[in-house]
């Protein structure tokens, strides 16, 4: 290009503290961001993409430092600036937005004051001038009623609103470069769509350069002009978005893209027409805050009179955004939460009315796989004990239970010798396999999987989904699969129930839901899936990619 780049990173190295899994978190990378373009850095967790962003901001975590190379912003090498000079550039020349809108704002400070802080630190504006500017900025990011909202504390705002506040803050001084580190990852799809559109609109209106970090190829397809793919601290491929997404050259890029779940419903499994395994009728749950003499009670109808049937051998997906009641529903079904009304018929018994003894026996046949593979395994117990627990609780002999645990480890694709190790010695994907082995140990008839792959990288996600499909076939399980991700739902579900505000608005075979959605909300959800247009083209190109096999 003729014009000099806005940001030029050359041979950047960031060293990890001694004892890390590699010496350099960022291993001699180079790239450029030009004014008016969006460069996406895409990669899996641990690839070094977030540390790259932190290095540019001069905000590397304690113990981590840039050991080589240069980061030139407008011709000035940021790595060689004294801290005081760097501080003046932060917020003024480079704005940054972060992943977690829940934690990225100071909980004790009014949102208006947090935006104001940027102006107060960097400009000589008086209070009235700053206030006017804060209101103006909040209006620019489409926050409702800025004059009132600026006085609110962050906890009063929704996730999307908080992210808008972050954006207003980052844009307050009109920086030439915006760094966005997974800014939409924690948001619902419909909110994500709005935020992406907002970033793009502001970027093109101001001619800013944007460095956008994400793990999600759908998001890349939506927003990027150019893409850099990172793996193990190196950039393996860089190029225009169309080229990288549709004609990837590097094997790693190909395998990553191949792992992105297609937006195409899979063929229903043959057994899906089996007998009903679980039938729920009129299931209702209302949360009420305690309330008191002076305090108004708050009432949230989390699940409103839900009917659903899961057949033997089929996977029923429950999709919806956060707060739609899908997790509550999962818990109600096996009485982890008491329902306010309705019935759950399982193996000829109403689970909700079963006596404690009978309930225990029934629960043996229903197992759960949880979302967070890090938090859901007891860190102080060996994996073998975790997997064998259910069997021991059933009174099976120790030796038999542990033998079975080894068998199950093999079944979920882990080394049976791993039973003697602790959960922290396993990666996220491996832990989720342990979670699945644990659930399978007692040979359940029904598996309830609550967002089992949302904490995993795409390539790992693909493997775990395949494993779930495989065990469902092999054990002839009925499965309830709770997810917010329509791509994932398309891959594993025979039928899908769409939930919104505690109600199932639409139920049907996966192909029908995707092909001919009836309810407006279903259409809205489908429409918000990032990278839809790309996915459609991608299906035609499928021959290009190889599905990665498990190592």
């Amino acid at each position: 290009m003729e014009t000099p780049p806005l940001l030029a990173v050359r041979d950047l190295r960031v060293a990890l503290p001694a004892g890390g899994d590699r010496v350099d978190a960022v291993d001699g990378i180079g790239f450029e961001v030009h004014a008016g373009e969006i460069l996406c850095i895409v990669g899996e967790s641990g690839s070094g993409k977030s540390l790259t962003a932190a290095a540019i901001m001069g905000l590397l975590p304690r113990g981590v430092r840039a050991t080589g190379g240069s980061i030139a912003l407008g011709g000035v090498d940021l790595l060689r600036l004294p801290e005081d000079e760097m501080r003046r550039r932060r917020g003024r020349d480079v704005g940054m937005i972060f992943q977690e809108p829940m934690t990225a704002l100071n909980p004790l400070m009014r949102v208006g004051d947090q935006i104001d802080e940027v102006l107060r630190v960097h400009t000589g504006l008086d209070e009235a001038g700053r206030r006017a500017r804060v209101v103006e900025l909040m209006a620019q990011v489409n926050l409702p009623d800025p004059d009132q909202l600026r006085l609110a504390f962050p906890f009063r705002l929704s996730g999307g609103q908080r992210q808008r506040v972050m954006i207003a803050m980052a844009l307050a001084l009109g920086p030439s470069l915006l760094i966005a580190d997974e800014p939409t990852t924690a948001l619902d799809v419909t909110t994500q769509k709005q935020i992406l559109a907002l970033v793009k609109a502001i970027q093109s209106a101001r001619g800013m350069g944007v460095l956008f970090i994400t793990h999600d190829f759908g998001v890349v397809a939506e927003i990027a002009d150019r893409v850099a793919v990172m793996q193990h601290g190196r950039i393996v491929e860089v190029g225009p978005v169309d080229q990288v997404l549709n004609r990837p050259v590097h094997a790693y890029t190909r395998s990553l893209i191949a792992a992105v779940p297609r937006l195409e419903p899979r063929a229903p499994s043959a057994a899906a027409a089996g007998l009903p395994a679980l039938v729920a009728r009129g299931l209702t749950k209302t949360y009420r805050s305690a309330g008191g003499i002076f305090v108004r009670r708050r009432v949230v109808e989390a699940v409103k009179s839900v009917d659903l049937t899961i057949r033997q051998g089929e996977t029923l997906g429950v999709v919806g955004e956060s707060g739609s009641g899908k997790s509550t529903l999962g818990r109600l079904l096996i009485r982890l939460l008491p329902a306010d009304g309705g019935s759950v018929s399982f193996q000829g018994t109403d689970l909700l009315a079963a006596a404690p003894g009978r309930l225990r026996a029934l629960r043996r046949d229903v197992q759960m796989v949880f979302q967070d593979p890090y938090a859901s395994l007891n860190p102080r117990r060996r994996v073998g004990a975790i997997v064998a627990d259910g069997l021991l609780a059933q009174g099976r002999p120790r030796a038999e239970a542990f033998a079975r645990a080894r068998e199950l480890m093999g079944l979920v694709g882990l080394d049976p010798a791993g039973v003697d190790r602790y959960p922290h010695e396993f990666s996220g994907g491996q832990r989720q396999r342990i979670g699945i082995a644990r659930a399978l140990a007692v040979e359940p008839k029904l598996l309830i999987a609550d967002e089992p792959v949302s904490a995993l990288d795409v390539s790992v996600q693909a493997q775990v989904l395949e494993l779930l499909n495989d065990v469902r076939r092999r054990f002839d399980l009925a499965m309830l699969f709770i997810t917010h991700d329509l791509r994932v739902a398309a891959q594993v579900c025979d039928r899908i129930a769409v939930m919104r505000r505690g109600e199932i608005v639409e139920t049907g075979p996966t192909a029908e839901i995707f092909g001919a959605p009836q309810h407006a909300y279903t259409r809205e959800l489908l429409d918000a899936v990032p990278g839809r247009a790309w996915s459609a083209g991608q299906l035609a190109n499928d021959a290009l990619y190889t599905i990665p096999r498990e190592s």
Binding site: A104, N106, M109, E117, H122, M166, G292, I293, V295
Partner: protein, 325 residues
């Protein structure tokens, strides 16, 4: 509006708890083995049957229990806490006399220990891992681990006996009539040693708490956000880190304040400080039940009041607190 409702609600709850304590107080005496009249007669040093009869009538002990309870509550409500036969004075007079010195001593110690503890905690957190951090920790833990009376006695030995700088006991110089400023200075000089003894002990908890809390908060996302905005380190520390880190300290301080206001038996005894703590200690030794119950009631009321104040302060510091929830 929400806050006023909250305060009203908490006050109401406090009053209910206090009434519960009054009832408990009443039952304590009645449930104690033996005849309360005999106990009182014993306290008064007389025990003939006629005096017992008179006592029973005087205190309504011959009436039904509920009626007695009602009379007791009515007495308490009119600030009649009974009579100390040992000291031959109404209990309420004793309490009124002993409460101010305790509030002066423990109030001073509370403010000083909180200020010193938080300051040390902030200093330690800023130097985390360096020798000065360890030094602060060691000093704080030393005074926390050492018995109060020992620290007090060592203070007396050094500053009163050896150096002769400060008086060793009491709240005022004996045998001199002082007025105005001179009296204030005199009380102040007497206050130094007992207040410092308490401060050194209680400071450690605040220091440790503040340090740990600061270290946790400084790694949180919103601190990184503030840096990304270009805010200076000093301001980040004040406006973002300390503001958030202080929350658990407020909780602990609230719990400690109530406890401190009840007087410190050890320190008041070591320094012959004429406060509630020493009054309680003397009452225990002399089996002066009415005084003990009076102390019990007053300290309970203080703890409840402090808890209420803590809740209100907390709700002011942290907007996320759902008022009343």
């Amino acid at each position: 509006m929400e806050r006023l409702e909250f305060i009203a609600q908490r006050t109401l709850k406090g009053i209910v708890v206090l009434l519960g304590i009054v009832v408990l107080n009443f039952l304590l005496i009645r449930l104690a083995p033996g005849d309360p009249a005999a106990v009182m007669a014993g306290e008064a040093g007389a025990s003939d049957e006629l005096f017992l009869q008179q006592l029973r009538q005087q205190f309504g002990l011959d009436r039904p229990l509920l009626e007695q309870l009602w009379a007791y509550v009515a007495n308490i409500l009119s600030f009649d806490f009974g009579f100390s036969y040992r000291q031959q004075r109404p209990v309420v007079d004793l309490l009124a006399e002993r409460l101010p010195p305790t509030l002066l001593l423990t109030g001073t110690a509370f403010v000083l220990s909180l200020a010193a503890g938080v300051t040390l905690g902030v200093m330690a957190a800023r130097r985390a891992g360096r020798w000065s951090d360890s030094a602060i920790t060691v000093v704080a833990l030393f005074f926390y681990a050492t018995p109060l009376f020992w620290v007090g006695l060592m203070g007396v030995l050094l500053f009163s006996v050896t150096l002769g700088w400060l008086p060793a006991f009491g709240m005022g110089s004996v045998g001199v009539k002082l007025g105005g400023v001179e009296r204030v200075i005199d009380v102040g000089r007497h206050l130094v040693l007992p207040a410092l003894t308490l401060t050194l002990f209680h400071m450690a908890v605040y220091a440790r708490m503040t340090r740990a809390s600061m270290l946790e908060v400084r790694d949180q996302d919103f601190v990184r956000t503030a840096r990304a905005k270009g805010v200076g380190e000093g301001e980040i520390l004040r406006r973002h880190v300390l503001r958030n880190a202080i929350l658990p300290v407020v909780t602990i301080a609230g719990m400690k304040a109530g406890y401190l206001l009840g007087g410190s038996i050890v320190v008041e005894t070591v320094f012959a400080w004429p406060g509630i703590g020493r009054l309680a200690y003397e009452a225990v030794l002399q089996r002066d039940y009415n005084v003990l119950l009076g102390v019990f009631l007053v300290t309970s009321a203080l703890v409840i009041a402090v808890n209420l104040a803590t809740d209100v302060i907390y709700s002011l510091v942290d907007p996320r607190i759902e008022l009343g929830a």
